[in-house]
């Protein structure tokens, strides 16, 4: 029984990550800088939503979990709930998160466990997400002066949310410090290739180390949920 409970809490956390980031990417639709990015961002959002649905279903009823929990019950990382900002912020958020997801799913896919099946499917998707983020990191980091500046600002602004990805997570049997050093190495070398300085600040907020996983979120998250859940909550018990 304890294994099941643990699996549920890990599935919930990973499912919430995918759900919330998918939602943020969905906000881009109709607003992207080029048509190809309308397609790409929607594609990534859809992949993540697919992952979220599988993971949340492992933890319970997907719609009940997505639409009827309040802010304090969500277990997603603060990183994925960060507002889209400009395209550079979105890309840096994607770079940080897809690198983490790719390393994590590659490891989960290689060992037996409750997440092996999902991880085997998801690792292919997130390899594409990571490639997309890396290509844009290069273009923007090594593009124009303005794009470089915007990227640098985004790298720095989101840096403090990256530590929580490696906080202990119940039910996920991974070598976290190995995962963290692989992530750091990958992101550092990527930023360097793009001519961007690796941020020097702390990788956790002043009060919020790993806080998303404990249901402590940033201010914009409640507003995001209000929008996401409004219609579903307005018709209790209805099916759609």
């Amino acid at each position: 029984m304890t294994t099941t409970t643990h699996t549920h809490s890990a599935a919930l956390a990973l499912g919430d990550d995918a759900l919330v980031l998918s939602h943020r990417l969905g906000e881009w639709m109709g607003h992207a800088p080029v048509l190809e990015e309308e397609v790409a961002l929607a594609n990534i959002a859809l992949d993540l939503l697919g992952q979220a649905r599988i993971l949340l279903s492992m933890a319970g009823d997907e719609d009940e979990l997505a639409y009827l929990r309040e802010e304090r019950a969500f277990r997603n990382l603060q990183l994925v709930e960060q507002p889209n900002g400009d395209f550079a912020h979105t890309i840096v958020r994607q770079l940080y998160f897809s690198t983490y997801q790719h390393l994590m799913y590659a490891r989960l896919a290689s060992v037996e466990g409750p997440f092996a099946g999902l991880a085997a499917k998801a690792v292919k998707e997130v390899a594409y997400h990571r490639d997309h983020a890396e290509q844009w990191t290069l273009r923007l980091g090594d593009g124009t002066e303005e794009s470089h500046e915007r990227m640098q600002r985004a790298c720095t602004a989101l840096w403090r949310f990256t530590g929580e990805m490696f906080a202990p997570l119940d039910g996920l049997d991974l070598d976290r410090s190995e995962l963290e050093s692989a992530w750091l190495e990958s992101v550092r070398s990527m930023l360097e290739r793009a001519g961007l300085a690796v941020p020097e600040g702390s990788r956790t907020g002043a009060w919020s180390a790993g806080a998303g996983r404990e249901g402590l979120h940033t201010e914009s998250f409640g507003r995001m949920l209000a929008e996401m859940q409004h219609l579903h909550r307005s018709h209790p018990g209805a099916s759609w």
Partner: protein, 337 residues
């Protein structure tokens, strides 16, 4: 009638062609007319009348613009979709629309236009998009009504375009229609779920159909006796059926579907006409249609402003991609918009 292969050599006009003269043009025109008469395809490198090219650029561009602007009313509900399944369906649909826009801009580019120039015409109001997208999506049921009625009308219009005389456009339409029919069925299924749901959901579905029915009928364009481009487009086999004919066909399809949805269509004059073998239906408010086309619809300003803003705010991204590509010309291919 000559074979396609024979046409291929005869009708191909070299881009550098300075030879010409009126005689050569007449010969090309004869081959063009014969190709169209034989129901064969005109391809990008073939000679074609300037007016044929211009009409196609206008029509294909407006079609592409409609896909792009058409993302907005539906994307309006992505963040509020009431279940994860519906959210996934809607995201996939809006993504398909961006893809359709891309096919269509490519088709227009085979005629010598550039995507950038066409987008510029959209942004400056010199080219139009379908009037339907100037209506607002006020409730979740509107997403279903758009799928069922708007995509249904689009399919009725577009299926004949799969046989359009211009090859690249016809081929784009084949791909677009496959995806559109999928969307249409999903829209229908969404409305069915609402119609069979709670009384509030049923009322929401009925209200959406009431608001989208007449604008959908307007999608077929003005009545035949007022349609400026129809006769020529039909002679060129760009268009295969008249506006009124397609509109009638659409009404005949929708009436039984509405009945099985358990929803009514907001037209007291709608009834089966045994003699004609079609439904009779009420008069369309052409004044409203003209107002919307002129830019005075409920969302014209909002739609174009959002499109322009996305484009303007994305300029630095496109500039960066171009600068990067120039620096690393042997590297990864990137968009140079």
């Amino acid at each position: 009638m000559a074979t396609a292969a024979a046409h291929q050599t005869a009708r191909t006009q070299p881009h550098t062609g300075q030879d010409g003269g009126a005689g050569a043009d007449e010969a090309y025109a004869r081959v063009f007319d014969a190709t169209v008469a034989a129901d064969e395809r005109i391809e990008p490198r073939d000679w074609m009348p300037d007016a044929y090219r211009a009409t196609l650029v206008r029509q294909i561009a407006q079609h592409a613009h409609s896909e792009i602007i058409g993302m907005q009313p539906e994307a309006n509900w992505i963040t509020r979709a009431p279940s994860l399944r519906r959210k996934a369906i809607l995201m996939a649909k809006v993504q398909d629309e961006a893809g359709h826009g891309l096919y269509l801009y490519s088709a227009a580019e085979t005629l010598g236009a550039s995507r950038e120039e066409l987008l510029d015409k959209l942004h400056s109001g010199r080219q139009k998009y379908s009037s339907i997208f100037n209506y607002p999506t006020l409730t979740w049921a509107d997403v279903g009504a758009i799928g069922w009625l708007v995509d249904g009308a689009a399919i009725t219009n577009q299926v004949p375009l799969c046989r359009c005389s211009y090859g690249p456009y016809a081929r784009a339409m084949v791909r677009v229609c496959k995806e559109e029919s999928f969307h249409q069925r999903q829209g229908y299924e969404l409305l069915l779920a609402l119609s069979r749901g709670t009384p509030e959901q049923h009322a929401m579905a009925q209200d959406a159909v009431d608001r989208w029915w007449w604008p959908s009928l307007m999608m077929f364009g003005p009545p035949d006796d007022e349609s400026a481009h129809s006769a020529q487009s039909m002679a060129w086999k760009i268009k295969r059926h008249s506006n009124d004919e397609l509109r009638r066909r659409f009404v005949d399809i929708c009436v039984p579907q509405a009945a099985s949805l358990g929803l009514t269509l907001p037209d007291p004059d709608l009834k089966w006409n045994e003699e004609r073998g079609h439904h009779d239906f009420g008069a369309i408010d052409w004044t409203e249609f003209k107002e919307v086309l002129k830019g005075n619809g409920p969302c014209n300003e909002q739609r174009i402003t959002q499109r322009r803003r996305a484009h303007d705010e994305g300029a630095w991204v496109r500039d960066a991609a171009a600068a990067y590509a120039a620096k690393h010309s042997s590297g990864t291919e990137v968009e140079q918009a």
